[in-house]
Amino acid sequence: MTAFRASLERLYAVFVKELIQLRRDRLTFATMIMIPVMQLVLFGFAINSDPKHLPTALLDNDRTEVSRLFIASLRATDYFEIDKELSSPAEIDAEMLSGRAQFVVEIPQDFARKLTRGENPAVLVIADAADPTAVNGAAMALNGMVSQVFTRLLTGPLRYLAAKNPPFEARVQKRYNPAGETRFNIVPGLVGTILTLTMLIFTSLSVTREIERGTMESLLAMPINPVEIMLGKILPYATVGFFQMALIGVAARFIFFVPVVGSLTTFVTLTMLFIVANLSVGYTFSTVARNQLQAMQMSFFFFLPSILLSGFMFPFRGMPVWAQDVGSILPLTHYLRIVRGVMLKGAGFSDLATDTLALAAFTLAAMTVAIARFRQTLD
């Protein structure tokens, strides 16, 4: 038997051992299924960055046909759910401070009269911008409403009040997700976050577990080298990652109806690369941590920035340069571009070359650190 075949045989030995242990560990096995399902359902269905039907309190000081027309068109935007009528300005602050209302709309006295006189009266819309995301969509709709919706309602004798057409129009072409569906953005991102979490946790425990159970001493006394141990421990979880990817992919396509424009081969190949990248990080943590608790803490320490700085939760380009630099170190950042590119845009390998290379480089670096950190003795 050649040296290489012997090495493969040792790798296979660890692979089989890990697979058996994985199968016997019911809890781990359950988490492997439960984490993807729970996260998909929770985030996929729950997250919406363009909320509608926001609670709105109304103070109508005018009470004319025109003001009622305005209110009707406000309702027609779907963003404002007028669920309370205020009777005095004193109530406004209470509405905002208690957070009961997202918006308070105050129509001034003589609104209709000033409008007909052409005095450009102002309607005050107070927004609770403590949560800016919740307000954005509604504020934009409000602007559009005045020029489009409201104008259309100004018929008959009021027609002369309708705004004239602007001198030119800037037309925005929203590609890949024209309707702005949040789930089209979130669900592909979830493929990345779920895989990050599960892959990280599994391998981060793998070496520390052997040390805590005392099996490491035996393993180290055997003729097996760190590379064989590492690959033997990573590969079973890559298989697990493959199945998780399939599970989430099918759910994305058939439950969340996310379009998959690009090629399946590109998706699978690059997702597998991403899976291995995360397994390598987890394994690196495992070689550094002294016990399983530390390994878990490290995983979460890595997971949090992955979610916040990768562009999964907030726009990547909205971050300052230093934060973008930090984000660029994380594999999830590159994978999000890849998965959104493949699923929504139909991007191919050549379009994603930079991010693919970044993932590969990251994986290699993590593995190198893991091998260097792996303690071959008990010193």
Partner: protein, 309 residues
């Protein structure tokens, strides 16, 4: 240091190892010849495990050098590991793998030609056929120990390092275990075994006794007893409790230990002990006796305590 002769399997010189500033092993030298069972004795924390770990490449010595099976313990750990079976003090097979799966794993790691067949054969040899599919963690202490030994010898190593293999195992299982060890050395395997049991020490070809990291005595059991220069008497009858208390205060007496209805008295000064036998003749029947290995070890340990602590 030159490579040792072929029949010297372990040749370690002046090995030292410290943990956190505490010297656990201090300039320890050890020589073990091929086909021998070498007993490694000493009180808890004396550095036995550390020495064994240095020999098989699990720990790097701070100082000193050594050869195991002709390979340098600092450089050729991999070659040593390939040819050595190491049985850890704590059961260290995978508790969540079955007996068969554990053995197959070892077979593959050691590149045995047919790991499945080798595992099967080892199971049959151990008489574990009915339990092959039982999880290793569910076995009783005695069976765990048998399995661990079986796992160690499955790759047919040249050297076995056994770290307190029989701790907590019943006498029958211990006896079987030692019969097995002897059978293995008859086939040419060399064994270094650490133990606390005197009967086991006497079953070794040679013994090394260490305390506080220092080698205090080595040789065959008889040689060690002879070297110690201890004289012993057995005292029977009379008020042995009171006698023991008084003898302990005598400077010439190295050790007084009750054994049932008898008292065991040892001294390094034969004449002084004979004089004491005269003096206390009225308080029991004094009979000259040969010192046991245990007498010698306890005496060595007491003296080591004075010297090194």
């Amino acid at each position: 240091m030159s490579r040792p002769a072929d029949d010297i399997v372990i040749d370690a010189r002046n090995l030292s190892k410290s943990f956190g500033g505490r010297k656990v092993v201090d300039r320890l030298s050890l020589k073990v010849r091929r086909g021998r069972i070498h007993g490694f004795l000493g009180p808890n924390g004396s550095g036995k495990t550390t020495t064994i770990r240095m020999l098989c490449g699990l720990l790097t010595p701070d100082e000193g050098e050594g050869y195991c099976l002709g390979f340098d313990i600092r450089k050729d750990q991999r070659e040593i590991k390939r040819r050595t079976g190491y049985m850890t003090q704590k059961f260290s097979l995978y508790a969540d793998l079955t007996i068969e799966e554990n053995l197959q794993f070892i077979g593959r790691v050691f590149s045995l030609p047919d790991p499945k067949q080798a595992a099967r054969a080892a199971i049959d040899r151990l008489g574990l056929g009915a339990r092959a599919n039982q999880l290793a963690g569910e076995l009783s202490g005695g069976w765990k120990q048998r399995l661990a030994l079986g796992a160690c010898i499955m790759p047919k190593p040249d050297l076995l390092l056994l770290d307190e293999p029989t701790a907590g195992v019943d006498p029958k299982a211990r006896r079987d275990f030692w019969d097995e060890i002897h059978a293995l050395t008859d086939e040419g395997m060399t064994v270094l075994v650490s133990t606390h049991y005197m009967d086991e020490a006497e079953r070794c070809h040679e013994i090394a006794y260490i305390a506080y990291g220092h080698l205090l005595a080595r040789g065959t059991a008889d040689e060690i007893v002879a070297q110690a220069g201890l004289s012993t008497f057995t005292v029977e009858g009379g008020d042995l409790g009171a006698l023991a208390a008084r003898l302990k205060r005598e400077p010439a007496v190295a050790m007084v230990a009750p054994f049932g209805a008898r008292l065991h008295v040892a001294s390094r000064d034969a004449l002084a002990l004979a004089a004491l036998a005269q003096e206390y003749a009225g308080q029991g029947i004094w009979t000259p006796d040969a010192p046991t290995l245990e007498d010698v070890f306890i005496d060595l340990m007491t003296r080591a305590q004075d010297n090194y602590q």
